[in-house]
C-alpha cells in the first residue's frame, strides 16, 4: 500500500464510526416516517457521491487539483462539522452518566470535554494511517456492542410501534435530519483520493454499510423504545440501555467507553481533513496544523452553541456540500468541451 493511503475497510470504518457517533447523539423522537427519511438522505448522499467517484477515477485530487472555492467550502464545512461533533459530546455527556472525578470542584463536563479535545489533538497529529488502523479496531468493538444490543432487543421488540401514526415526525423532516447526521460526507470527499483500493469498491462498501447500520439501529430503536419515545431525549442511547441481554450485569460502562472512543475518532477525522485542506490552501502552512484544526473546531463549537443552530442548518450545509462534486464535474466537462 502506498504511503498515506488506506484500505477500503479502514476507509469505511473511519466514516462509519463518525456516522454512528452522530446517530447515537441524535436527540428527539424518531418514528418510522423519520427513519425512512434518514435512509432516503443516506441514499441521496450515495448518489451524490457518484460525481466524486467519477472525478477521482480521472485522477482528480481535491488537495492538488481542486479549485480554491471547493477547498474553501470543504474547509468551512469540516470545521463546522467538527464543532457540531464537539457539541454532541457536550450535550450527550449527561445521558452517558460519566461519574465525577473531582467531586464537582471543577466543571466535570468541561474537564472531560477538554480531555477529549486534547486526545483528539494527539490523534490528529498522528496522521491518517494511525487513525485508520485504530478505527478498524474501534469499529470491531462497535460491531460487538451492536450485536449485544440486537441480542438484548430480541425479547423487547414490539412491531406495532413501527406502524405509521398521525403523531410521528414527517418524512421530509427525516430527510433533513438524515442530511444533518451525514456530516462525514465532507471527510468522504476529502479522503476518497487517499483510498488505496478501487474508489467504486470503497464507496459502495461505505454507503452500503451506512444504510444497513441506519436501518438496523432505527428498527431496533423504534420497536424497543416506542412505548416511551415521547419522553426520551436520546432515543438510540435509550434503546441500548433497554437492550441489556444480561440481567445481572449492566453494560452501560462498556457503551460509555465505546462512545468516548467514537467521539475521539470522529472529531480527529475532521481534524485530519481540516489539516489536509489547510495544507492544500496554504502550502507553506506546515507546522501546527493539527493544533489549528482542533482550535478551529472548538471555536466553531462555541459559536454554533451560542447561535443555537438547529438540525435544518446542518442538514442544508451537508446537502449543499453534497452537490459540490456534481457542480465541479459539470464545470470540468464544459471546460473540456470548450477546449475541444
Amino acid at each position: 500500500m502506498s504511503k498515506n493511503k488506506i484500505s477500503f475497510g479502514q476507509f469505511a470504518a473511519l466514516l462509519l464510526i463518525s456516522d454512528a457517533f452522530a446517530i447515537i447523539c441524535m436527540r428527539g423522537r424518531i418514528g418510522t416516517p423519520m427513519a425512512l427519511g434518514i435512509l432516503t438522505a443516506a441514499a441521496i448522499q450515495s448518489v451524490a457521491a457518484i460525481p466524486a467517484v467519477a472525478l477521482c477515477r480521472k485522477n482528480f485530487k481535491i488537495s492538488s487539483s481542486g479549485t480554491l472555492w471547493l477547498k474553501s467550502i470543504l474547509l468551512a464545512f469540516s470545521v463546522m462539522w467538527g464543532g457540531a461533533l464537539l457539541i454532541n459530546v457536550w450535550n450527550t455527556a449527561k445521558a452517558i452518566y460519566i461519574p465525577s472525578v473531582f467531586d464537582n470542584r471543577i466543571g466535570d463536563k468541561l474537564l472531560i470535554s477538554l480531555l477529549i479535545a486534547a486526545v483528539c489533538l494527539y490523534v490528529t497529529s498522528c496522521g491518517l494511517k494511525a487513525i485508520a488502523r485504530a478505527a478498524v479496531i474501534a469499529a470491531g468493538f462497535g460491531v460487538i456492542c451492536l450485536i449485544v444490543v440486537v441480542v438484548g432487543a430480541i425479547g423487547r421488540i414490539e412491531p406495532h410501534y413501527l406502524e405509521f401514526t398521525g403523531s410521528d415526525s414527517g418524512y421530509l423532516d427525516g430527510i433533513i435530519g438524515g442530511f444533518a447526521l451525514g456530516g462525514s460526507f465532507g471527510a468522504y470527499l476529502m479522503l476518497l483520493e487517499k483510498s488505496a483500493d478501487s474508489v467504486i469498491k470503497t464507496t459502495v462498501f461505505y454507503f452500503a454499510g451506512r444504510i444497513f447500520f441506519v436501518a438496523l439501529i432505527s428498527f431496533i430503536t423504534i420497536s424497543v423504545v416506542g412505548a416511551i419515545m415521547s419522553i426520551t431525549q436520546f432515543p438510540f442511547i435509550t434503546a441500548a440501555e433497554l437492550s441489556q441481554p444480561l440481567s445481572s450485569q449492566r453494560l452501560d460502562s462498556i457503551f460509555a467507553v465505546v462512545f468516548v472512543i467514537f467521539a475521539i475518532l470522529s472529531i480527529s477525522l475532521q481534524g485530519i481533513a481540516i489539516s489536509y485542506l489547510l495544507k492544500a490552501i496554504f502550502p507553506k502552512f506546515d507546522k501546527f496544523r493539527s493544533l489549528t484544526s482542533v482550535a478551529a473546531m472548538l471555536c466553531a463549537a462555541v459559536i454554533l452553541n451560542v447561535l443555537a443552530v438547529g438540525t435544518k442548518f446542518y442538514g442544508m450545509a451537508t446537502a449543499l456540500t453534497a452537490i459540490a462534486p456534481a457542480i465541479l464535474l459539470v464545470a470540468r466537462r464544459r471546460k473540456n468541451v470548450c477546449v475541444k
Binding site: A227, I228, I231, Q233, E241
Partner: protein, 175 residues
C-alpha cells in the same frame, strides 16, 4: 527525552481515571423507594446493606425530598440500582416516573407497584415477591418502561400490583 516526557504524561493521566476517588461506603445505594405526593412530597428510602437504616424525607418537591434525604443520611444517594418504586398516593404517576427515569437515573428494569400507607410504615416490599407474582401470572409486567409506556399510551392507565402494610396484595389501575 521526548519519550520520557510522553511516558510521564501518560502515567500522570492515570490519576484522572477516578479509580481512587470514591469508596462504596461514600454513597447510599437505593433499593426501594416509597413515594407519596399530596400537598407536599415525602419519600421513604430503603438501602442495600445489612446495617443500613431507612430514611424518610419530606419536601415541597421531589428535588427537595432527595436533597433532604442526602442531608439526613449524610451521604449522596445513588439510584442506579433501585429495584422497586412504590407509588403511595401520587397525583401524576406518568410525570413522576418520567422524572425518575430521565433525571434520577432509576434503571428501566426497576419494578413499579402501588402501596397503601407504606411510606409511613415499616413494611418492606421484597423484589422477589414481585418477580414471583409476575412469573406466576398473578401480577402484570410492571417494570418501569412497561408501566410508563402504558401510562403514556392511548389508555393513559396501567395495571399494577398494590401492596398494603398488613401484607395484602391486589391489582389496581393507576392513571
Amino acid at each position: 527525552m521526548r519519550k520520557i516526557i510522553i511516558a510521564t504524561i501518560i502515567l500522570c493521566s492515570m490519576f484522572l481515571t477516578g479509580c481512587g476517588s470514591a469508596d462504596v461506603y461514600d454513597k447510599l445505594y437505593l433499593k426501594t423507594l416509597y413515594i407519596t405526593e399530596n400537598s407536599d412530597c415525602s419519600a421513604r428510602m430503603e438501602f442495600f446493606g445489612d446495617n443500613s437504616q431507612d430514611i424518610t424525607a419530606h419536601g415541597s418537591s421531589f428535588e427537595k425530598v432527595r436533597e433532604n434525604a442526602r442531608i439526613s443520611g449524610g451521604k449522596d444517594v445513588f439510584m442506579g440500582h433501585c429495584e422497586v418504586i412504590v407509588l403511595d398516593s401520587v397525583k401524576d404517576p406518568a410525570k413522576l416516573l418520567t422524572k425518575l427515569l430521565n433525571e434520577w437515573r432509576i434503571p428501566p428494569s426497576c419494578y413499579v407497584v402501588c402501596g397503601k400507607d407504606l411510606t409511613t410504615s415499616q413494611y418492606s416490599i421484597n423484589v422477589l415477591t414481585i418477580k414471583s407474582a409476575v412469573e406466576q401470572g398473578k401480577a402484570p409486567e410492571c417494570d418501569m418502561v412497561t408501566v410508563l409506556g402504558e401510562l403514556l399510551g392511548d389508555k393513559k392507565s396501567a395495571s399494577v400490583a398494590e401492596f398494603t402494610a398488613d401484607g395484602g396484595f391486589r391489582l389496581v389501575t393507576v392513571s
